[in-house]
């Protein structure tokens, strides 16, 4: 059942992205930033947590999930150490993901070369 829930939430997020690609002139980079910011804003308003509770990885893995983690980390850190936490908390909470992204991208760049599309 967890898989079905994750599929539903993750799928809805991706469908929204696909509709934006197909129906608007937004370039992929803008959609990417929009989704991350949206995730952070929704969490700030308390609206993203229910999605995570329901959909699990379906809500945390897509782009808004990264915004959610940034906002959540910042809020938690503010509770612990005060206002300074707003600056440190976001990256602290997402550091594993960011480091993994940099490391794996680096490894992929070493091993693979870009190829022409067919």
């Amino acid at each position: 059942m967890d898989y079905v829930k994750a599929f539903i939430i993750g799928g809805i997020i991706c469908v929204i992205g696909q509709i934006l690609i197909d129906k608007t002139k937004l370039m992929s980079g803008r959609i990417l930033v929009l989704f991350v910011v949206l995730g952070a804003v929704l969490h700030g308003m308390g609206l993203y947590e229910p999605l995570v509770k329901f959909g699990g990885a379906g809500a945390t893995v897509p782009l808004p999930g990264f915004g959610y983690s940034l906002a959540k980390g910042a809020i938690e850190e503010v509770d612990k150490i005060g206002l300074k936490g707003a600056f440190t908390g976001g990256l602290k909470a997402t550091s594993a993901g960011i480091t993994a992204a940099v490391l794996f991208a680096f490894i992929a760049a070493l091993i693979f070369n870009s190829k022409a599309k067919e």
Binding site: I21, K25, S28, S114, K115, A116, K117
Partner: protein
């Protein structure tokens, strides 16, 4: 001496002859409907080099070597090269031609470059400034994606209006004397910008420029669509082609039965997933040097109007939200001239 006629056209008194043509294309172009017309079809898009840019330079170099060879000339016989591409500072052309000992004019007309190089080459010959010149243009799918759209690694989805940059180089040699086909008229285009901003729909941006050049060509020369066997634009693609047709029709010229587009001809949209069609400097260049030139020699057509079309934006102008200024240069090519 050549005459300037009407608003923006030139009629050559001694039409230069296109004495040879050569084309090199990538494997996708080789698998397309025109595949058998090209001289060399590459299987490796890098052509043994370690970057897309170097591969495109090699395309330029090898194609020009071949076109000179095909004309039974040596590089010493060529007085000028007119060439261009889509990379920053024309690196494909300049790096590809640095080993040649031939004076060089680098041209940027975006995808209209083949029309520009043929027009300027023809003027140079008719003006008596040279006996032989090379006109060339090139593009490379991977280099162009990287420069103008998105890095290949990003795997971005392409909308249906987007075109597919042709990997290829097409070159011709223009000579003072020869058996033809001849360049008899040119109508260099004006920059037209109707405010289209979507770089994924360049056909729509370029269509008004193509239509403007075609209409002015008819008005300046007094010719009508009946005078041509084929009117073929560079890379409007399926979307832009229909728009251009409509715009030309509004001015009272019906070209529908003889109108085509190199971008539509070069790929099979149904099986090759190229969406709107081929684009890039190489699109019109290889279609002319491969398909059109050979079929004119076979007398399939005896008089054509070749109109490479270019979208003159830069990656920076797109990011800053600018619209896409466009241009189209018409070159009339005929098997006989009187």
């Amino acid at each position: 001496m050549a005459k300037h006629i009407g608003k923006q056209s030139i009629k050559f008194d001694l039409p230069p002859s296109i004495i040879s043509a050569a084309s090199t294309v990538g494997s996708k172009e080789g698998k397309g409907p025109l595949g058998t017309y090209f001289d060399v079809v590459l299987q490796d898009p890098l052509w043994g080099e370690d970057s897309w840019e170097k591969a495109e330079s090699k395309l330029v170099q090898k194609t020009i070597e071949r076109v000179i060879q095909k004309a039974n000339l040596t590089p010493e016989d060529i007085q000028y090269i007119f060439a261009g591409d889509l990379l920053n500072q024309l690196t494909a052309s300049t790096f590809g031609l640095r080993s040649f000992d031939i004076p060089f004019f680098g041209l940027f007309g975006a995808c209209s470059t083949m029309g520009e190089s043929m027009a300027l080459g023809a003027m140079t010959i008719d003006g008596g400034f040279a006996n032989y010149v090379v006109a060339e243009a090139s593009s490379h799918f991977c280099g162009s994606e990287k420069q103008f759209r998105f890095p290949l690694e990003l795997g971005t989805q392409r909308p249906l209006t987007a075109s597919w940059t042709v990997t290829g180089s097409g070159a011709v040699i223009l000579g003072k004397n020869g058996p033809g086909p001849y360049i008899t008229y040119i109508t260099p285009g004006k920059i037209i910008d109707l405010g289209i901003k979507d770089p994924m729909n360049m056909g729509a941006a370029m269509a008004p420029a193509a239509a403007d050049t075609i209409i002015n060509h008819f008005q300046d020369t007094g010719r009508t669509p009946k005078d041509y066997d084929l009117i073929i634009t560079g890379d409007l693609g399926s979307v832009g082609k229909e728009l251009a047709l409509e715009l030309v029709k509004k001015s009272g010229y019906d070209i529908e039965s003889i109108f085509s587009d190199c971008g539509v001809e070069i790929f099979d949209a149904a099986t090759q997933d190229t969406h709107a069609g081929g684009s890039g400097c190489g699109c019109s260049a290889v279609t002319f040097a491969g398909y059109l030139y050979k079929e004119m020699q076979n007398n399939k057509w005896s008089r054509i109007l070749f109109i490479p079309t270019g979208a003159l934006m830069s990656p920076g102008s797109t990011q800053q939200g600018e619209s896409i200024p466009s241009i189209a240069h018409a070159v009339a090519i005929e098997n006989k001239w009187a």
